[in-house]
């Protein structure tokens, strides 16, 4: 079965990646062709602002290049790239902490292209709500959550990427899921009261 998330990459002119592709050694260029849109949206979900996505994507693939590209192993290429992306996002976060860039900015990288304005609005609202809930998660939990719940990566691949037992991934996902739903409910409630301000409320971290 073709991976659902990979379908998003169709139309980008780049090779879509599927979970069924057998892992093989991949150069940075091959990785980029197959996974650049994934890396861009993953970075956006990790909270990297839209203005910095282009640079951050380049950094991820340059690091991949310096590491000698992807080598076949238990970690799938996308999980492997995600681990690099988390480091980049972490560095970006630290340096941005004092700047307080508009958090809504991070959504631009995944803005909806649906033609129908109502549908576009609906998608934008979904993106904002989900992103707001993701923002409430620490980066480590957020990465696991995004990879598993949104990108459809297998737990085994996530575990291999971070060199942790698969049980640890289950545990992180369980924790992330609980906190995500809690934050989601808080933001949804807030949005009902003040539409359009879905990212405002402080959710306990």
């Amino acid at each position: 079965m073709k991976d659902e998330a990979a379908a998003r990459h169709e139309g980008s002119g780049m090779l879509p990646a599927t979970q069924t592709d057998p892992p093989q050694a991949l150069s940075a260029e091959a990785l980029f062709r197959a996974h650049a849109p994934f890396v861009a949206s993953f970075l956006a979900r990790m909270g990297v602002p839209a203005l910095e996505i282009d640079d951050a994507v380049q950094e991820v693939f340059l690091v991949a290049h310096r590491k000698g590209g992807y080598q076949p192993g238990p970690a799938q290429p996308r999980s492997w790239l995600a681990a690099i992306a988390v480091h980049i996002a972490q560095a970006d976060r630290r340096s941005r902490r004092r700047q307080q860039l508009e958090s809504a900015d991070a959504l631009d990288g995944t803005s909806c292209r649906r033609p129908d304005p109502a549908a576009r609005l609906e998608t934008q609202r979904a993106l904002e709500l989900v992103q707001a809930a993701l923002d409430a998660l620490p980066l480590e939990l957020r990465a696991a959550f995004v990879l598993f719940e949104i990108e459809g990566e297998p737990c085994e691949s996530i575990a291999a990427t971070w060199s942790v037992p698969v049980g640890t991934v289950y545990s992180r996902l369980h924790n992330a899921r609980r906190r995500f739903l809690q934050a989601y409910a808080a933001h949804e409630k807030h949005e009902r009261r003040a539409p359009g301000l879905g990212r405002e409320p402080e959710v306990s971290r």
Partner: protein
């Protein structure tokens, strides 16, 4: 917890609205321009050295302006600030005049596929690329070689970029200083884009927009156009 989790999307105990929104996010098309990103990556990989090996030795002593830029790039890559440096040096490479076949000193100019593809690059200086007198002077007024000046301009750009991430006001000040020092420097396009970003980040939105408009007017085909356009709240085609 040893049991594999059920994905939220497939978990009936989770509210349908949450699952619908997650599905929506999952299917939302990305806005990333992969084709343009790939071109940029190719340019940067050309300068990054072979795969799997971070540059470990200082580059040879540069003989000319462009080679100096690349040398500075590799040296600074080692110090961990590589990404922007590569962009900066890439700009030097792509900034070579079109018909130019060799670098100062007779070294053959490395073919740059990215440069060849960029048929709509901004106006280029007349060959050979030379720094004006202002750019060939150190702050003290001591004359320096064009290579040293170019390296200094690149280093400044790297500093601006690094500062932009943590201290936008300092980034802006340095950009202004660099612009005064290198009014016709080879990296002015990148510097002007960073200036607009710095202004935006320090909250000078009106000035940022003014700077962004001036940039877009001067460099309508710049690879940095999309980033600068976002400052104006314009959709990037």
């Amino acid at each position: 917890m040893k049991k594999p989790p059920v994905r939220l999307l497939h978990d009936p105990s989770v509210a349908a609205s949450v699952r619908a929104n997650l599905q929506c996010v999952r299917e939302a098309p990305g806005g990333y321009d992969a084709a343009r990103g790939f071109e940029r990556l190719q340019r940067e990989l050309e300068l990054a050295g072979p795969s799997g090996t971070a540059p470990s030795t200082p580059p040879p002593t540069p003989r000319g302006l462009e080679l100096s830029g690349l040398g500075a790039t590799k040296a600074l890559w080692i110090s961990g600030v590589g990404a922007l440096c590569i962009v900066a040096a890439g700009a030097l490479v792509t900034g070579l005049p079109r018909g130019r076949q060799s670098l100062p000193g007779g070294a053959p100019a490395p073919p740059s596929p990215a440069a060849a593809r960029e048929s709509s690059a901004p106006p280029l200086p007349a060959a050979p690329l030379r720094l004006d007198p202002a750019t060939a002077l150190a702050p003290s007024g001591t004359a320096v070689s064009p290579g040293v000046a170019a390296r200094r301009e690149i280093e400044q750009l790297i500093q601006i970029r690094a500062l932009l991430r943590r201290d936008a006001a300092a980034a802006y000040e340095l950009a202004q200083r660099s612009a005064r020092e290198f009014p016709r420097g080879a990296l002015r396009e990148e510097r002007e884009a960073l200036t607009a970003l710095a202004l935006s980040r320090i909250g000078e939105h009106a000035r940022a927009q003014e700077q962004a408009r001036a940039f877009l007017q001067s460099y309508p085909n710049s690879p940095l156009r999309a980033v600068v356009q976002r400052l104006l709240g314009e959709d990037v085609p």
